[in-house]
């Protein structure tokens, strides 16, 4: 049952991704309505699957790479729809849905069996800490997608190469605004995730901070986004610089999320 829902959501996301990529090459200036419908269907089914899984295992399904990637993807779709509702930029799907799809693909690749929850994880911190972290990471993921869009459009305007794709893309200011808003949304969440993580670590392992690679890398990520915000507000690092930094920031997020668990030894792997 659970597996069927997961695969269905995967198929819908896949279809949305394919169509959104076709959008880039399509003649018409208007973006089709099929992509958000497919993504929306995927989102709802995915949500049902997560709820189902929650009742099946008795806690929020974030443990293991399978669950983590899947929840990460789901959080990105939430933010995508929020932006779509607020800004109505159809072409954005072409840059966000592929990220969602890749995460779902990863989720599919990892084993989906349920491991018993270790005692230190059985805590009310589990949903709070993870949801804060996942939402902030999702915001940073979308920021990266919009950053890529910004760089492409900026390149077109600078090189004065104004093709059909240029016409379909939104203006620079709105993309920069989205970048700023998403980081101001994601950064406090990320800060809270680190704080709740520290509190939890204290109650579970007896120390707030142990310089575990996971902790170190999330701190590095935190510093990158702090720098982005600080530079924007003080010296006006906006536009291109902000876009490049948010792509770098997301690479750090990816490493914190996957790299640390797969490549380094950490106690923060479940």
């Amino acid at each position: 049952m659970d597996a069927i829902f997961f695969k269905l959501a995967f198929i819908f996301y896949f279809a949305a991704t394919i169509i959104s990529i076709f959008e880039i090459f399509k003649d018409s200036k208007e973006s089709s309505k099929i992509t958000p419908i497919l993504a929306g269907a995927g989102f709802v089914i995915h949500f049902i699957q997560i709820i189902y899984r929650y009742f099946e295992i008795g806690y929020i399904p974030v443990t293991g790479m399978h669950h983590a990637s899947s929840l990460f993807a789901w959080c990105i779709v939430i933010i995508f729809f929020f932006l779509q509702y607020r800004y109505k930029i159809g072409i954005m799907a072409s840059f966000i849905m592929p990220i969602v799809f890749i995460l779902m693909l990863l989720s599919l690749a990892f084993p989906r069996q349920i491991q018993p929850l270790t005692p230190e994880l059985q805590s009310y911190w589990l949903p709070i800490h993870t949801l804060l972290a996942f939402l902030s990471y999702a915001a940073f993921a979308v920021t990266c997608g919009v950053g890529i869009m910004y760089l492409i459009q900026e390149h077109y305007l600078k090189s004065k190469h104004l093709g059909r794709f240029f016409q379909k893309m939104p203006n620079l200011q709105v993309m920069d605004e989205i970048n700023y808003k998403l980081i101001t949304f994601g950064f406090p969440l990320h800060t809270l995730a680190i704080i709740t993580g520290a509190l939890w670590a204290e109650s579970a392992w007896g120390a707030y901070w142990r310089w575990d690679p996971k902790e170190v890398w999330s701190l590095i990520t935190w510093f990158i986004y702090a720098l982005i915000l600080h530079a924007r507000l003080t010296v006006g690092w906006r536009g291109k610089k902000a876009a490049i930094l948010s792509i770098i920031g997301f690479l750090a997020v990816l490493f914190t999320f996957f790299g640390v668990n797969l490549l380094l030894k950490t106690i923060h792997s479940f």
Binding site: F166, L172, Q173, R238, G239, K240
Partner: protein, 424 residues
Amino acid sequence: MKILILGLNHKTANVEIRERLAFSGQKLKDGLLCLREILEIKEIALLSTCNRVEIFTCVNSADTAVENIKKFLSGFHNISRDDFEKSLYLYTDSDAVKHILRVASSLDSMVVGEPQILGQIKDTFDFALSEKTTGIILNKLFKKAISTAKKVRTETRIAENAVSISFAAVELAKKIFTDLSGKSFMLLGAGEMAELAGRHLVSNGVTDVKVANRTYERGCELAKEFNGKPIKFDDFIQEMIHTDIVICSTGSSTYVLLKEQVQKIMKERKQKPVFIIDISVPRNIDPEINKIDNVYLYDVDDLQDVVDTNMFERKKEACKAEQIVAEEVDKFMKWMLTLDSVPTIVALRQKAEEIKNEELEKFKIKFPETDETKIKAVEYLATAIINKLIHPPTAAIKENDENKEELIAVIKKLYGLNGDENEE
């Protein structure tokens, strides 16, 4: 009935003749009603814009109608026939249909794809409707023209993208900024094209306008026109800190704005984007400035390139549009054929025969014991009845020449003969 279009446009007549033949204001109504009197027919419409004057009509005899219209134009506008006759074009039947469809779709316009003409065609039609000068054919023709134009607009990209330098500047500004209404704009110098671009910016919402000119008085004059404030030319660099869009067109032979200056300005602006348009020839702004982050500098050639690409795109799209027009002309001409009396009479008779045969079959099933001779008798009776019933409409179509199309349309409606009415 023949559809006939007599007119002239920017390609066939110079502005002086177009002016003299234009029907503006009250003249439009007078002209329309006079024409109807003269032509002694029901269907006529009159289109008069700055680029064209066209008379759409439906007549029995093209030659006399053309002669009458020419006479009317000469008398009404007090212009000798020799002056305008050679500028006139005449289209009939499918050529006329094609012409009005092309006009409405803006394929015949001076700037292909410009949107105003469709509105003008609609106005022409509405006015003719309110004066009740059109009938079944022109009504259908205008509706066809309007629907075709809409189809062309949605199915091709003929009206997309700017095809003038000043519009291209505004379009680019919209790709840099979200909302122009909150932006400030500075006009540097006073070239004609720069002014025009400024006007487009203002009509797109820019309200904060500054004008810097070498002669301060001229700058004040221009500022007044834009509802903006004049600035001393020497202060413009300082003012750029608070300016998002700059259009430059001074007569200077050297650069008035250098890279280092802009770098300093950007620092003070906290890197808020600036869009600079340099329309001057020779260029007044160091092209190196485009390399600075968040500064977008376009010179007149860059804008011309944008316009050329857009123009080229439009021409490609125009070919697609011509195909749509051709298809729609075909459909219309097919509809025209159905207005002819012979096919209508045939269809009417066929319908009657069908009904008769159906009812006969039902009769046979209901009364299976009826023998052959009695069935023959019933059939005879049925035939007699349908013949009597369809005789008057048939005769009316054959005899009535004046309102034939209307009659045919009514008959088709009453008897449900329409096989083709699947649109509108």
